[in-house]
């Protein structure tokens, strides 16, 4: 595959995730069909497609959140840095430490802002003393662009924050354990345009350090923030490639119809 100019030069970017013939079933219903996709390091990969097309299912496979669904069955391989994450001996706790997730609806713990961010480092034993925790909390909140707003009320309940602040707190909480990949499932769908813009800027900054996979319903958002885009439809990948190519010069008519709003 030849990489043309893009938002970030991903010529040197190595492959982080690679799925090979991924098939996912919920009971008798098949949700994903032979999905093959590569996710590159320090890239923002956006997954687009109409509701029910399997993009969220795909995202949840990447850190095995689907394990929680008892009827979910997975065929095929997901390779992270050369290792199949669905190997029998894989410890999901270690996997999720590396592959963090931000959800559609902001879901901070009903605890203080500080405790929200410090929880991950605490359970993974990343920090041991108060100073380390303070540092992690401050850095994470700074990276998430929330530090200035909350530094004077770290012990207030996270529930008192606005929706956009809560979502940034969730991002801070996710990056506090220093993951390598951050999965985001429509992180802005519950937010107003201003909060969305803040999060989008944040994603742009975060990709310096993290590999980001984002599910979005907003074509504009995908076009604005992502380096690569995968278009899902009916559980299959229709087209994938650099965001610029997909949006300006899609190979397939189906893709063109979807991104121009003719169906979906």
């Amino acid at each position: 595959m030849v990489m043309a100019k893009n938002k970030s030069d991903n010529k040197d970017n190595k492959i982080r995730f690679e799925t090979r013939d991924l098939n996912v079933f919920y009971g008798d219903k098949q949700a994903l069909f032979d999905v093959n996709l590569q996710i590159l390091e320090n890239n923002v990969t956006s997954l687009i497609g109409p509701s029910g097309c399997g993009k969220s299912t795909f995202l949840k496979c990447l850190n095995r959140m689907n394990d929680m669904v008892s009827i979910c069955r997975i065929d095929g391989q997901i390779i992270l840095d050369g290792h199949n994450i669905y190997d029998k001996n894989v410890d999901v706790v270690l996997l999720r430490e590396k592959v963090g997730m931000v959800f559609q609806k902001p879901n901070p713990f009903p605890k203080s802002i500080y405790e929200n961010v410090a929880y991950g480092p605490k359970i993974h034993g990343i920090a041991s003393n108060k100073d380390d925790f303070d540092e992690i909390v401050e850095n994470s909140l700074k990276k998430a662009g929330l530090w200035k707003e909350v530094k004077d009320r770290l012990n207030d309940s996270a529930i008192g924050l606005s929706g956009g602040q809560q979502q940034r707190l969730c991002i801070a909480r996710t990056i506090a354990i220093n993951p390598e990949v951050v999965l985001m499932d429509e992180p802005c769908s519950a937010l107003d345009p201003i909060a969305t813009a803040i999060i989008e800027d944040l994603i742009d900054e975060l990709k310096e350090n993290f590999t980001i996979v984002i599910v979005t319903h907003s074509m504009q958002q995908a076009a604005r923030i992502s380096d690569r885009t995968a278009f899902f439809h009916m559980g299959k990948i229709v087209e994938t490639g650099k965001t610029g190519d997909i949006f300006t010069n899609p190979k397939l008519k189906q893709t063109q119809d979807y991104i121009t709003g003719r169906f979906g």
Binding site: M65, M68, R96, M101, P110, Y119, H124, I177
Partner: protein, 433 residues
């Protein structure tokens, strides 16, 4: 601005008028049903409370008579021996009787004397004994002391025995009434707060019977019940709700737990009798066995309410913890259970409140026995508040009638406190998400 009529005001000529009117009438009718049922329920409650309070208030007071008591040396210490052992053997009843005879020297006939002695309670000689034992130096002196009247006199003074009925049918005879009236006229009769009701155990004599034994018994029963049922019930619920695989086996367990919640309480009493008393040989009539039997009774309720509380925790919180790499155990213990805590506490406390009022299982395991001593441990024979109510209600003496109502008031106070604690805990731990 137009000057046409406001279209949102329905006029009689509007075709919708009739339909709207009907709809409105329906609503008014439905609301009035609600108000009527609330009114009826309040009326019942009010009747119940009024009956209990008017009947029971008397038990918190008792009649006392002031007697001039001579601590007669000849009776108390005929050989001059005032050691505790010697004093314990003395029959103090004579001292009280002598004092009554002094008060009414005309009474000579045996039958009449017996009636005169009947004015005072057995407790009065016990009080005299206690005074002498506390301070032997009062032997030989004379002093005026308030001593408790017998239950019959107490009932007469409270109006529970009518003076109007024929003497033959009346427990208190005419001459007794005359004596008491004379005593009252001299100002030597009073009605005092009955502290003994809260400090005594049960007694065959209504004027001496107290609720403390039953209260302590109930307290021990509840202590055991909480100690057994809460960890078992909450633990079961957490496992079933959060960890157990969904299969036929867990389905069967779930159905059975729901069924157990509907089993009549007396059946749990029989189970307790068979298992705890007959098989394990635990002490009969003890609060320990009562607590075990009641914990069987409340377990299903605790399991069900705890499961509901856990299920009400939003899945997004679980996702958040799992997504951060928390193990299922950490997710449940750090996030789900703390969030479900108010619901769990409410469930536990309301189940326990139900257990406080439960009588049938306690009858089966022997807590219905007459126990005069206040229990000092969970293995002592004891009774419990609802059983005490049942026992007193069953007693023929008229003096126990007001005790029954008073015991119900104490039980209700227990329940109100338990419910208040439940509400307080729920509000305290309640968090929003």
């Amino acid at each position: 601005m137009t000057n046409s009529e406001n279209p949102y005001i329905v006029r009689k000529d509007n075709p919708a008028h009739k339909r709207l009117l009907k709809r409105k009438a329906k609503e008014v009718r439905f609301q009035s049903y609600g108000i009527i049922s609330i009114a009826i329920a309040s009326l019942f409650l009010l009747t119940l409370l009024t009956t209990i309070v008017t009947e029971g208030t008397g038990a918190f007071f008792k009649t006392e008579i002031k007697l001039s008591i001579l601590f007669d040396e000849e009776i108390i210490a005929p050989n001059g021996d005032t050691s505790i052992e010697a004093l314990a053997k003395i029959n103090y009843v004579k001292i009280v009787r002598n004092s009554l005879k002094e008060l009414f020297p005309d009474v000579k006939k045996r039958k009449e004397l017996r009636r005169l002695y009947g004015l005072m309670s057995n407790a009065s000689e016990l009080k005299v004994r206690a005074m002498v034992e506390a301070d032997p130096s009062i032997i030989g002196t004379r002093s005026e002391i308030w001593l408790p009247a017998s239950s019959d006199i107490d009932m007469l003074m409270k109006g529970n025995i009518s003076r109007d009925i024929e003497e033959k049918l009346r427990r208190v005879k005419d001459n007794q009434i005359a004596w008491v009236d004379k005593i009252a006229l001299e100002g030597n009769l009073r009605c005092k707060f009955n502290t003994e009701f809260f400090t005594n155990g049960d007694s065959r004599e209504p004027e001496q019977a107290g609720i403390l034994g039953a209260m302590i018994g109930s307290f021990f029963v509840i202590l055991v019940c909480i100690g057994v049922a809460m960890p078992l019930g909450v633990g079961t619920a957490i496992y079933l709700q959060e960890f157990a695989p969904k299969n036929k086996f867990t389905d069967i367990i779930e159905v059975n737990i729901n069924n157990l919640a509907a089993v009549p309480s007396i059946v749990y009493g029989l189970l307790g009798l068979a298992v705890f008393l007959n098989f394990f040989g635990m002490p009969r009539s003890s609060a320990m066995v009562g607590g075990f039997a009641l914990s069987l009774l409340v377990l299903p309720t605790i399991v069900i309410t705890t499961r509901n509380a856990l299920a009400a925790v939003p899945p997004s919180i679980r996702d958040a913890a799992i997504g951060l790499g928390a193990s299922p155990m950490q997710t449940v213990m750090h996030h789900v259970v703390p969030l479900a805590m108010p619901g769990i506490m409410t469930g536990v406390i309301l189940s326990i409140a139900r257990a406080i009022g439960e009588t049938a299982p306690l009858l089966m395991i022997g807590m219905v026995a007459f126990v005069a001593d206040v229990p000092s441990s969970i293995s002592d024979p004891s009774t419990a508040l609802p059983v005490q109510i049942y026992l007193w209600f069953d007693s023929p003496e008229i003096g126990f009638k007001e005790k029954t109502s008073a015991a119900i008031m104490v039980l209700l106070a227990f329940l109100i406190v338990a419910n208040a604690v439940a509400v307080y805990l729920r509000n305290k731990f309640e968090r929003k998400w």
